[in-house]
Amino acid sequence: MKFAGKTDNYAATQNACNLCSPLGAALVFKGVSNCVPLLHGSQGCSTYIRRYMISHFKEPMDIACSNFGEHTAIFGGGANIKLAIDNIRSQYSPELIGIATTCLSETIGDDVPMFIRSYKEECEDKENLPALVHVSTPSYQGTHMQGFHGAVRALVETLAEAAETGDKPLLNLFPGMVSPSDLRLLKEIAADFGMEPVLIPDYSDTLNGPLWTEYQRIPEGGTTIEAIKSTGGAAASLECGMILAGEPETAGTWLDKKFSVPAHRIGLPIGIRETDKMMDILAEVSGNPIPDKYLGQRGRLLDAMVDGHKHLNGVKAALFGEEDLVAGLAAFCSEIGVIPALCATGGGAGRFEKTIKSVVPERIHRKMEIMEDVDFVTIEKALEKTGVDLLIGHSKGYAMSRRLKTPLLRVGFPVHDRVNGSRTLHLGYRGAQQLFDRIVNKIIEIKQDRSDVGYTYM
């Protein structure tokens, strides 16, 4: 099939490479302890988003909806939101309800903060009132990533207090939209530096938990409200992601301004350099040296990179997905000799090209195509010309991979056609090791399988 490409009078988006903002917000709220996300809009929004996330995380995904009907659209969603909160409370007894708007409630102009205030005022049972956090996520603005970072910021701005520090220095960690395994890794690293990490969000247990003995209305795990409150008293904040977490106003900058918590900002710690940066910051903030364990991991990673370097130097890859992930992968590719020949994202924050170029050596720039705010049809068109050895991105690239006969290495979100999306590690030395092994083994596999000879050693 031939696709219509993006032209000057381009109007339609064909096979989008991004999702809508309420999804990102819902994911963040799933990473808070005893929280139920509530989408303020039509039934379909929550159902589609639940279905989409279940296919990736393979976990129960209760997301409530204020269930707009025709009357709601006319008279406003105030009554619905209140009823929804009541119903959620009686079914789930949550400590927090995270309310994200949708295109519908935004378009009709619902004043959600006002609804929340009036709910609180009218509430008879103020003692047991859950925290209510609102984030504005009109689906026609930004992508799921704006929704994600918006919800993070809303949580902090709504809940953070000037707090006393406990025994261990607190570290606010804003990891970006990474996998449960990545979150677990970040917590382990922070703990190994002797710090108490507050991850926002932390869906490492809620969306990657064990089987249950009894049904859990809200899966165990997630960042507690207490912890979010304490972020105001942390020793430092670490924000990951050069593009979205790198916006002028974020949870980190807000904490810095409001409570003078110093904000350290790095890219997603993918690959050697960015992980080194994270380690150096943690060492500085904690006052502790980098633990041997990580020096060992780094050492073995470098050793592996050297062992496999010849398979990769000059290999061309196309990277696609959310902006920060692509930037992180591009940085890592540049460290191992893979040319990120095409970097594409459905996001449109406006800092994509500049960021990508800042992490890739200049002599590679002319070999690269960098595309922001594009869909898969546009990406595929470009790849038909460019021709790469490997695609690195999420599952939605499979159709393209199949047509282009170019293998797809699955990273990020969503992974709908493999079982281990939650367990894929991207961050830290261990994540880099796994990415490296996957990339080089895939290249070897291609070479081996396509060879007429079928060498048994490579």
Binding site: F3, A12, T13, Q14, Y48, R50, E70, S139, Y215, A399
Partner: protein, 453 residues
Amino acid sequence: MSSIPILKSREAQIHTKGEKPFDMTCGKHSVAGSVSQRACVFCGSRVVLYPIADALHLIHGPIGCAAYTWDIRGALSSGPQLHRLSFSTDLRERDVIFGGEKKLEAALDELIDHYKPKAAFVYSTCIVGIIGDDVAAVCRKIEAKKGIPVLPVHSEGFKGTKKDGYKAACDALFKLVGKGSTEGVSPISINILGEFNIGGEAWLIKEYYERMGVQVVSVMTGDGRVDQIGKSHGAALNVVQCSGALTFLAEMMKEEYGTPYIRVSYIGIDDMAKSLYDVAARFPDNPEIMERTRKIVREEVEAILPELNEIRKDLEGKKAAIYVGGAFKAFSLIKALNYLGMKVVLVGSQTGNKEDYKTLQEMCDDGTIILDDANPLELSKYIIEKDADLFIGGVKERPIAFKMGIGFCDHNHERKIPLAGFRGMLAFAREVHTSVTSPVWQFCPARLGNKEK
């Protein structure tokens, strides 16, 4: 764990057979905050029209609705694959402010020129009416310009339930019906309605009818084509599967073209056979059709029986829970599961009506839980209480079953195997068998009654 609470407002939608006089409340808009497993009007329309493979399906709205429905169904096409792409006008903030008509027009113009579809469906999403776009006008304009049907689908998400989406889809389909010539259409002919060719099911069913000597004029909408739909009014009979989706169209065709319709189900041996016999019975002047039908049923059943009996040995006495979209499907599933020796301990649907639920409770044993528009908490509460070995549902029900260590069979549009037809019955049995007999359940804490760590 505290026991799972049931919302007061939902109590009338949950019954235990044999306990109280049966009177199911249903057809209600889902309660706000209840985490319904239902979708929206748009979803209903999209499900029905999706399999039409030579049409352009353009979703007018912000990106989400198109992104979440990109190539997520197992509806197969024997030819064009246009339905598997995702097209959106991808409305942005400025479009919300200034209106999206221009963008819609440009998108249709561009996409129709490029992909040369036989028709275009334009799905309105929630905000389209609110921002004031006159979609119908744009469609008319483009239809005139391009010379193909360009059909608005009134599928704003909040304007009703999924059923209203079916209705909107049928309205759009109905505009195609009658556009073509009925030349070559036999008086012994049918349309297959409400069969979406998941995993190639429509191909199976169509082949049965053709072997009977009955011409299949169109399938709506499995492996669907615009031209076939155009001449579907020539068929002698509409054969409608499923409770909800295509009945609206059958009614409209009955009114407009006088096409009679019957309702059938292709799930399970008995219902599948009945679907063929019922059609054969509509052509009493051609007794050889009934003859052939008997032969087909005999041959097909004989072909699958030995393996079914093998499978039954392993499944005998196991307990199943069913939660599906339409209640009609649930009827067949109960029979099919009984055939495999299994007992149904819970059954529910998203869109059943009072009569459906009455039928359901008549089919069930005492103690069976019957639900309308259930949510995850209710479903999990009862599958645990009833100690089910198998859950039949869709993607959203799957993790509930799995967390509790219960086998699962996907009976929704996302699946890739045929479950209809005789061969589908075997595939269904295998699917159930594969899940229920997996050794992994031995490690599941909920099934071990806390015996394991």
